[in-house]
């Protein structure tokens, strides 16, 4: 499946606008988790690496694809884990548990 330049640019443009509007509303309180979360989401690049390693069109594609999968997967696993760990720590004031 191949997209043409114009369609790709439309998708990029709209996503960038949505990104700006959504992320502008993220409280500065959560900017560190924001960065680790977007980093994990960005690792969706793993799908490209999976196809590269799995289709096996050349040995180089297999090797580079596999290393790329390792890099992206570590971002997915580590990124979601640390984001959740950080967010768990944010508690509102109120009656403190004993």
């Amino acid at each position: 499946m191949q997209l043409d330049l114009v369609t790709s640019l439309y998708v990029f443009l709209l996503a960038a606008f949505i990104g700006f509007e959504v992320i502008r509303r993220v409280s500065p309180l959560l900017h560190t988790p924001l960065m680790s979360l977007t980093n994990a989401l960005d690792a969706i690049a793993v799908v490209g690496a999976i196809i590269l390693a799995g289709e096996g069109r050349s040995n180089m594609a297999k090797i580079l694809g596999t290393i790329a999968i390792i890099a992206a997967t570590s971002n997915i696993v580590g990124g979601f884990m640390i984001t959740d760990r950080m967010l768990k720590m944010f508690k509102a004031s109120g009656p403190r548990k004993p």
């Binding site: 924001l34 999976i50 590269l52």
Partner: protein, 461 residues
């Protein structure tokens, strides 16, 4: 179109929606964890859908990659909160590595018949990917202190860097014109790799929040470019979201440090530090003991604590939380004023304080707390310096003039916990310390706060 293709496209569509929702839910700490969940579900769907892709003939390498990636990822998800900045820089490097490797493989699979449009975005992908890879590794090394944190500068540095970048872009353009000249491709990777190193060499520790944000933006843009190459809308969207996020954070950080945006875009950091030569002040300062400090704090009704990176270095956040508890128990209203560049990455200070169990509704941003200082009895500064320097507001000759600061000097009493009278990272004198209503509390942050807490709990109650 085959049915399985449709199913794959639909899983990608759902994943795209979940990714946007994920960031939307991050807008408030109440819904934020749902955001992580949405992101995880979207990610699983997209990966599962891809694994069913009909073109995949060999699953062995994929399995090895996923298993090894998980083995590396788990410890990276468990690092200490103080180490989050270097972990983040490292993950930018991994993301960029993935994008660069996929781009490289795609080029050699397609060469010499690469359409011009595709070669253009492929060049962008590989150039941004490689420079982000080495740049982020350098940043992670400096943050982890395995590399010297001191900025290394030399004459004509910007010229060299710009020339490197220009050559890389030139090669990219040449490849767009003549995609059959495959021997050019390794240079299009190698030169940006070198540029990434050179770009971070002149940057000091205090500029890291801006640098990490900028690298975040580059990583996102390179992933979006990869989406263009592979024709993946999902990847374009994820890359655009990441790029936008990094861009917004970079702008925030550059505003908070009073740098122009072009200054940030061209990576020209850490060069305004013209050390003020030998003007060490000999004016007297007033200092106080933990007992005196405890007495003043106990008598206050409104206290604002301003933490800086020094607090984290001294590992004082848990003692600060005890101080918060002791004062709150006495009915003192305690809030925290957080400067945007406090810490080593955007929002880092909030995470460190949240880890110490300080409620997030007590952590206020600079713009929200600044109006409160004139009605504040005590402003207690722990490990922060330049972000409280009134010279940024008043002294046009000061190197940090124009930088937005926390107006602690407007509080009735200012207390500063500090090891000695040495100047801050920028080597700039802070007139705050010589004010009549300022008390200097000399000592290690952790010990000093601990002594105040002992006084407060042992003294009267």
């Amino acid at each position: 179109m085959f049915a399985s293709e449709n199913i794959l496209e639909i899983t990608y569509l759902i994943a795209t929606a979940l990714f946007v929702l994920s960031l939307k839910w991050l807008s408030s700490p109440i819904t934020a964890r749902r955001g992580v969940w949405a992101g995880e579900v979207g990610m699983l769907l997209a990966i599962a859908g891809t694994l069913l892709h009909k073109g995949i003939v060999d699953y062995r390498w994929i399995a090895i990659g996923l298993v090894l990636g998980t083995i590396i990822g788990v410890p990276l998800g468990r690092v200490a909160m103080t180490a989050v900045p270097q972990r983040t820089a490292l993950s930018h490097a991994f993301g960029a590595l993935c994008v660069t490797l996929v781009g490289t493989a795609e080029f050699y699979l397609r060469a010499p018949n690469v359409p011009q449009f595709m070669m253009g975005v492929l060049s962008l992908e590989v150039i941004l990917g490689s420079l982000t890879f080495t740049g982020s590794l350098m940043a992670a090394g400096k943050l982890q202190e395995v590399l010297p944190q001191r900025p290394i500068t030399y004459k004509g540095q910007n010229l060299v860097n710009l020339a490197l970048l220009a050559v890389a872009i030139g090669i990219g353009v040449a490849l767009v014109m003549h995609p059959d000249k495959t021997y050019l491709f390794p240079f299009m990777i190698g030169i940006p790799l070198a540029f990434g190193v050179m770009m971070i060499v002149p940057i000091g520790g205090a500029d890291m929040p801006t640098v990490i944000s900028l690298l975040n933006s580059y990583a996102g843009l390179s992933a979006a470019a990869m989406g263009f190459v592979l024709g993946s809308k999902l990847l374009i969207v994820a890359g655009a979201l990441d790029g936008a996020s990094g861009f917004i954070l970079s702008v925030n950080m550059s505003k908070a440090m009073n740098r122009s945006f072009t200054n940030v875009l061209f990576g020209a950091f850490g060069q305004e530090q013209v050390t003020v030569a030998g003007t060490t002040e000999t004016r007297p300062v007033r200092s106080a003991s933990p007992e005196e400090a405890a007495g003043i704090l106990a008598a206050a009704s409104k206290v604002v604590i301003v933490p800086g990176y020094g607090m984290a270095v001294a590992q004082a956040q848990h003692k600060v939380r005890e101080l918060y508890d002791a004062l709150t128990k006495r009915g003192v209203d305690v809030k925290f004023g957080i400067h945007p560049v406090a810490g080593r990455m955007p929002g880092h200070m909030n995470v460190l304080l949240a880890e110490a169990d300080i409620p997030y509704d007590k952590l206020l941003e600079m713009d929200d707390i600044n109006g409160d200082f004139p009605q504040t009895d005590v402003a207690l500064i722990i490990g922060a310096n330049d972000v409280t320097n009134p010279a940024a507001r008043e002294d046009q000759g000061s190197p940090i003039y124009g930088m937005p600061i926390l107006d602690v000097d407007k509080a009735h009493t200012v207390m500063v916990i500090k090891r000695s009278m040495g100047a801050g990272f920028a080597g700039i004198e802070n007139p705050l310390y010589y004010m009549d209503r300022t008390l200097m509390l000399f000592g290690d942050a952790k010990n000093f706060v601990g002594s105040i807490v002992r006084e407060l709990s042992g003294g009267h109650s």
